[in-house]
Structures are given as structure tokens and as C-alpha cells.
Amino acid sequence: MSETPVEHAHPAPIRRGFPLSAYLICAGGIVWREALRFIHQRERFVSALVRPLLWLFIFAAGFRQVLGVSIIAPYQTYILYEVYIAPGLVGMILLFNGMQSSLSMVYDRETGTMKTLLVSPLPRWFLLVSKLFAGVAVGVVQVYVFFGIAWFWEVQPEPPGYLTALPAIILAGLMLGALGMLLSSLVQQLENFAGVMNFVIFPMYFASSALYPLWRVQESSPLLYRICQFNPFTHAVELIRFALYQQLNGQALLIVLGCTVVFLGGAIIAYDPARGLISRKRQ
């Protein structure tokens, strides 16, 4: 069908735009709603914490004797396996949180509450970025509660490390949240979300440096080593690991930044009614 010519009977009235305060109020409202939902879903908070703690208490205890960790950057000395996997477990919290946020977006779309967000007059990209930050804020709270408990399990970086790790945690959270948002635009039904678990979360987590140093992986499988290097989750974990020890991993920073831009750009396009996948999928 060809584009229909439309007569412009009336000149467009004045465009006023929105003041900065409207953007701030809107973003605050989205973060506030996400926080309320999180508070109401206590089991979500508990399970988000139990998962990495089980890995720390049980898996790491078992592997401590099996898997030796030699001195590798950013560590200055031999470390316990628990210390090694702590940044990976932080990544796990952020990964699951990102996917949980995308799951809730699929749920919101199915129940219709997503429409409330999408008919807001503020730009669609701004709404999605606000939603992303809201999810990350929830993830950051979970990470620091995890740090608090892990302190008693001999995971004790220097106190300034907790501060220097914050930007890395936020950036990693943004990347993983943006990936989840992009996936939520591709998943048509809630039931299909199990596939995301199998094909995204588990491969991303296991094919990374979260559980074992990459030199160890390289020794056993050069192919897996390559896959781990291409996995953005590896770089998110390394960014956090270095930042926790007050160092900057420049390569990891660039890769995580680049992936965040790509994933978020994809999500914004997918949710754009002019170009997106959402409306096409209903067709």
C-alpha cells in the first residue's frame, strides 16, 4: 500500500516541550514503582541473595581444595577461591536481576500494565532508560547486601574498594539490564522465558571468568577460552573484579560500555512504535 497523502487542514499548534522537572519526576516515579514492587516481592529479594550465597558457601568451599588460583591481576597474593568468585557472584546477581526485570516487562506486557508506561508523553527512549536505571538500583542494593554477608566469609577487600566498585557495578548492571530489555522485546509470551534461562543466563554465566580464571580455561579448551573472551559477561565480571581492588580494567570498561550502547539501542528500537518489533509481533 502506498503512503496516503494527507491534507494539513490546520497549522500545528505551538510545541511546548517538557521542563527538566517533568523528566526527573517521571524517572523518580519509575524507580519508586520498581522499588515498591521489589519490597512487595520479598521472596524475590531472598532468592536473589540465596542463589549467590549458596555458591559462596557450598560450591566455593568444595572447589577451594580442587581449584588452585595462582597470583593473577588484580590480586597481589594468593587468594581463597571464595575471594576469586565473589565478583563473579556479583555479576550473577546483576545478571539474574537484569533477566528478572525483563521477565517483569514481559509480564507487564501480558497484563497490560506496560501500556500505562508506553502512553506516557515523555520520549520512549527516556522511559526505557528510566526503567533500566530502576532495575539497576534494585540490583545494586542486592549486591551490597551480598557484600555485607560475604565479609563474614573472608571476602574482605579494602573498604575503599566497595566505593570504587560502585560505578563498575552500575555499568555492568546497565549492560545486563539492557540485554534483558532487548530480550523482553523478542520474547512473545511469559512461557517462552524459560528458553532465556537455558540459552542466555546459563551459557553467559558458565562461559565466563566468573567461576574460574581464563588461563585455566585456555589450558583445557582453547575454543571455550575464545568463547569466554567474546562473552560480554566476562568483561563485566572483570570490570567489577578490578574496581573492587581499586584498579581500572580499561579493556573491560570499553567492551562493557560498547555492549551497553548496542543492547540499549536495540531495546529502544524494538520498543519504538515506528520501527519496533513489539507492534509487528501482534500482526
Binding site: 494527507v6 505551538i14 517521571c26 516515579g29 508523553p121
Partner: protein
């Protein structure tokens, strides 16, 4: 705009909604074909059509959930594609499916909606007080939405649509699934708010008894506008006895049902 009021004096002569030659297809199936009509400011316009007529598709286009690819839609003169923000800030919507967050309280749902339109919590609180001044729901603001009945949920969604002082309200079959008493209450509540707030309404329905003689009607059937005008005009034009009769003559479907008239003859 801290309370949502907009100085729209320049738009006083423009229709609240202008749908101009809009078409939309789902793959090969055309849902809307060259649809044009207007909703004058301050009017209660019923979009009358049986199920599957294209009402929900049209609403998805007006709310910009779908992109307008063919034709144009203007709200108070603001083109939805060129000025989506200006158009949407003047629009309030009640979707056919429930869109309240059942885990949040009524007040939280309304405050969240206000925030999405850039209204601070203090303005939202004041506005809730204004709209619900005479409603029994004002005493239940702290209750979770899931504790409300279907009719009460719908009432809150209507209040929500009015929160940011829109100039045009869309309601997509808002009485579906409600009992007769709740339906009547919702309809009279909307008519009261329209009168008090001076907004325009586009009310999608397939039920003829929701239409008043003073309403403007747009008859939509199989994606085409078959008639547009005030009730007496359409009735006279079709040589019918009532708007229900005119609807049946136009569409071949008995008013208030989706059953073709000829099947019952």
C-alpha cells in the same frame, strides 16, 4: 505545568481528535481502511462497532502503541507522528484490558501515573482529592488494587485517565465484563466528569444502550467508517426508527450483539 493544566487557547477551534485517512494492516489482513472522522471538543462521541470492527486497532494507533503508517492522527492539532509528546500529554486512556498494577495500592497506582506525566506527588494527591471528592473509593486509597471489584477497578482506571487533566479521553469498551449496575454507574460517572472537566470523549462500544440521543456517533464496521454524525442525523439518514435500527441497516449486525441480523430472521 505542575498541576497538568495547559494553556491551549490556540487550539480552541481545532477538533479534539482528527483521524485522517488512516489505514492499518496485520500482514495481509487489513484492519482499518481509509478511516476518517473527527471528535469535536467537548463532545461525547461513541465509536460504535461490533467485535472485530477495528476499534482496538484504532485505539492502539491513537495511543501510539502502533505507528501510524498510512494517514494521520491529530490530537488538538498535534500530529501524533510529528509531535507525539504534545499529543499524548493531552490524551487520557482507559484500555479494554485492566492495566492497574494489582500489587500497588490505589493511591500508588494513581501517583505512578501522575509521575509518568511529570506531575509531582503533591499535585497528584490534590488531584486525587478533587476527582474522588464524592466517591466512596476515596476512603480506600491505601488498599491494594487487587482487593477491588471489577467495577471499582474500572472506576479507578477512569480516575487515572483524568489525573493529568487531558483534553481528550479514550475509553475502549470500558464496561465489558461488568454487570448492568456497574455499567450504568461507570457511564454516568464518565458523563459527569466530562461535564465537570469539559473534556472530549471517544467511547468505543458495541452496546447500543450506552449511546445517548445527544451523542455524536461514528459507526465502524470491518475497518470502515459507515456513518458519522449526531444520533438524530444518522437515524434520519438511514430512515430508521432508532440508532439501533440504523446500526443494523448499516452493518447487518443487530445492535448490542455480534450476531448477524439475517441469521436470526
Amino acid at each position: 505545568m505542575q498541576d497538568g493544566r495547559l494553556n491551549d487557547s490556540a487550539t480552541i477551534d481545532l477538533p479534539a481528535l482528527a483521524v485522517e485517512r488512516v489505514s492499518h494492516s496485520y500482514g495481509q489482513r487489513q484492519a482499518l481502511g481509509d478511516v476518517s472522522f473527527t471528535v469535536p471538543q467537548g463532545s461525547f462521541t461513541a465509536l460504535l462497532g461490533p467485535n472485530g470492527a477495528g476499534k482496538s486497532t484504532l485505539f492502539s494507533l491513537i495511543t501510539r502503541l502502533f505507528n501510524v503508517r498510512h494517514g494521520a492522527i491529530r490530537i488538538l492539532g498535534y500530529d501524533l507522528n510529528a509531535d507525539p509528546g504534545e499529543a499524548l500529554r493531552r490524551l487520557g486512556v482507559v484500555f479494554q484490558a485492566r492495566t492497574l498494577d494489582l500489587d500497588l495500592s490505589i493511591a500508588q497506582n494513581l501517583t505512578y501515573h501522575a509521575a509518568l506525566h511529570g506531575l509531582p506527588a503533591s499535585a497528584a494527591k490534590k488531584r486525587i482529592g478533587e476527582i474522588l471528592a464524592t466517591s466512596e473509593l476515596s476512603a480506600r486509597l491505601k488498599e491494594k488494587a487487587r482487593n477491588l471489584s471489577g467495577g471499582q477497578l474500572r472506576s479507578i482506571e477512569i480516575v487515572r485517565a483524568f489525573m493529568h487533566r487531558p483534553r481528550l479521553i479514550l475509553l475502549d469498551e470500558p464496561t465489558v465484563g461488568l454487570d448492568i449496575r456497574s455499567r450504568a454507574a461507570i457511564l454516568s460517572e464518565v458523563r459527569r466528569l466530562v461535564k465537570e472537566e469539559g473534556v472530549s470523549v471517544l467511547w468505543a462500544t458495541h452496546l447500543i444502550d450506552e449511546i445517548d440521543d445527544s451523542d455524536q456517533v461514528v459507526v465502524l464496521h470491518q475497518g470502515q467508517v459507515l456513518a458519522e454524525g449526531f444520533v438524530p442525523e444518522i437515524v434520519a439518514r438511514e430512515g430508521a426508527k432508532s440508532i439501533g435500527d440504523a446500526f443494523t441497516r448499516l452493518t447487518g449486525v443487530r445492535a448490542g450483539t455480534t450476531e448477524p441480523a439475517e441469521l436470526r430472521a
